[in-house]
Point group: C2
Chain length 340, copies 2
């Protein structure tokens, strides 16, 4: 059926050993033979069976990536950059969409171990820590805490929470709401909300923390949810939430006749395109998506190659950046102030 190294050897009129030597650049080979073999490989459309190679080498150059939702803009971007860095380093990506389902995550974890991937990047967390520590493979956690032996890479959510809080304070918010993701387990990103809350308290500002009541990522749900919030909370003048949610809040606010940022200031988090798509470009705390991907992959590859310079449980935090859009400072009213 499939073309094997034997067929190539036969066609090129040489031994299997010679073909293998050529494939792996070992021993000495004459130009003539090399050419003959290459021609044979082309004519036969030969591709070395990586299963056999990998089995022998005990190495697959395969990395598994487990995410909670492929289609969420943030993860989609992470996947893109992670795949890019992996590709640059000769690795390929086995993508696993856990969909926040612990059955699936377990299956994937098992599958990845069976498939002898060289390492795993996990950006999901629906299992007990034990499930992760039992995995006998290099693992790096992306924006999750998976146990004392697994390094975490995340953005500096503490800084992010502080920046967001300060931006709302600087723009005179007095009654703010922050919306957190659905909280099954503690993740690095929770830090931004505790810090946000703390800073608000220290400044004597009324701050309420709400938790998304579901674990889905649908904009339609966010709109419904935003609607509820405005129905149940009066005189809010500041909001802090992930970009998608913030975008929904802005849209609903405006449709309810509120002036943004006049009546209501909004700060998003993530820095994804949703922040640009809304009517008023969101002021947002941008995560370093590219850097996160790069650092995660590099950390994993270092562990794989045994060159890791970090302690097992390191937490690498990458700096975030406040991008000022149109939802915290009103350019026009700013001018008016100047003109007075």
């Amino acid at each position: 059926m499939a073309v094997t190294i034997k067929d190539v050897a036969a066609k090129a009129g040489c031994s299997v050993t010679t073909v293998s030597r050529i494939l792996n650049n070992r021993g000495s080979i004459s130009e003539k033979t090399r050419k003959k073999v290459h021609t044979a490989m082309e004519e036969l459309n030969y591709f070395p069976n990586q299963l056999a190679v990998n089995l022998f080498r005990q190495r697959t150059y395969l990395v598994g990536l487990i995410v909670p939702d492929v289609s969420h803009a943030f993860y989609a971007l992470e996947i893109k950059y992670i795949e890019r860095v992996l590709h640059e380093n000769g690795y390929r990506l086995l993508l696993c969409n856990a969909e926040s389902d612990n059955m699936r995550e377990t299956e994937y974890l098992n599958m990845l171990q069976s498939n002898k991937v060289d390492g795993i990047i996990i950006a999901s967390h629906t299992l007990d820590l034990e499930a992760y520590s039992k995995v006998n493979l290099p693992i790096v956690a992306l924006d999750r805490f998976l146990g004392p032996d697994i390094p975490t890479v995340s953005s500096d959510h503490e800084q992010g929470g502080r920046l967001a809080a300060q931006e709302l304070i600087d723009n005179n918010c007095k009654k703010v709401i922050q919306i957190t993701g659905f909280c099954g387990v503690p993740t690095p990103s929770h830090k931004r909300h505790t810090v946000f809350s703390d800073v608000m308290k220290k400044n004597g500002i009324c701050c309420e923390t709400l938790e998304l009541p579901f674990n889905a990522f649908s904009f339609r749900d966010y709109i419904t949810y935003a609607d509820n919030i405005f129905r149940n909370h009066n005189h809010i003048d500041g909001i802090f939430a992930a970009d998608n949610v913030a975008c929904a809040m802005e849209k609903v606010a405006i449709s309810r006749g509120l002036n943004v940022p006049g009546d209501l200031k909004i700060v998003g988090y993530d820095g994804i395109e949703a922040s640009l798509m809304s009517y008023k470009t969101l002021t947002t705390v941008a995560q370093p998506v590219k850097q996160l991907a790069l650092t995660t992959v590099v950390t994993l590859l270092e562990i794989i190659s045994g060159e890791s310079v970090f302690d097992k449980g390191t937490h690498i935090r990458l700096p975030v950046r406040l991008i000022r859009g149109e939802t915290t400072v009103d350019t026009k009213s700013g001018n008016e102030v100047l003109q007075q």
Copy 2:
């Protein structure tokens, strides 16, 4: 190093054959032995080496997916649903992001062949048709034409173009612009633009077709581009473009003081979340993202299992749906008309 079937056999006090029998449900095995072996597997944290199994079975249950951009919302969704259907059928996904780069696409195509995937889904097209026909593996094209032997699954772009045109006509547009994607090669989606143009012509409506001058997918670029269009074209009253672009057009139009849909009607294409995020929810032609994924995977699996009922070069078209948002019919002005 790694735990093998031999270790399990040793620990369970039985032969390798027995363990293999248990793993594959062959022969007759006593409950006692079965239990012993399962215990041993658990205690050793054993995972059968899929490389060895796959090598023997000549089957990997791996499917490669080549997309032009993982982070584009449409593809991100397709990936999500494709992965889901694959997973339901016991297949895993090797994700390849071609990034519209023919070098990368070639590498991926070779890699997938080396890795003996069971089949490939291709949603990219930067190579000669020959490159695809040479691949000796089941292939299905998603929204691309890759040659006479490769089936294509796409949405019914003809219907889509017609629906979009009709919507603008029904709302009295007289001077419309449609914006097409960057055109390297003909794809099924081009059809919607030729049909759109035809319908407009037949109705005596001025219709200009513009092509995105770049092959990137960045919202920031779309904004710049939209700005240019408005600078160079006066009195446009209708626009047809992909959701992302349409969203940018809407945003720029509004910032230039235009009334949407009063002065300008917009119809998007895709039905992704961008259509909901804009200030006025886009009227859009929604592609059946889930159905596309399902059909693509099912078609591929049928070819893999040799049960395909289609001709090799079939083109399966799935119906689209017009979702009326707020960018073609103004609810308020609609009411006003009624009240007169």
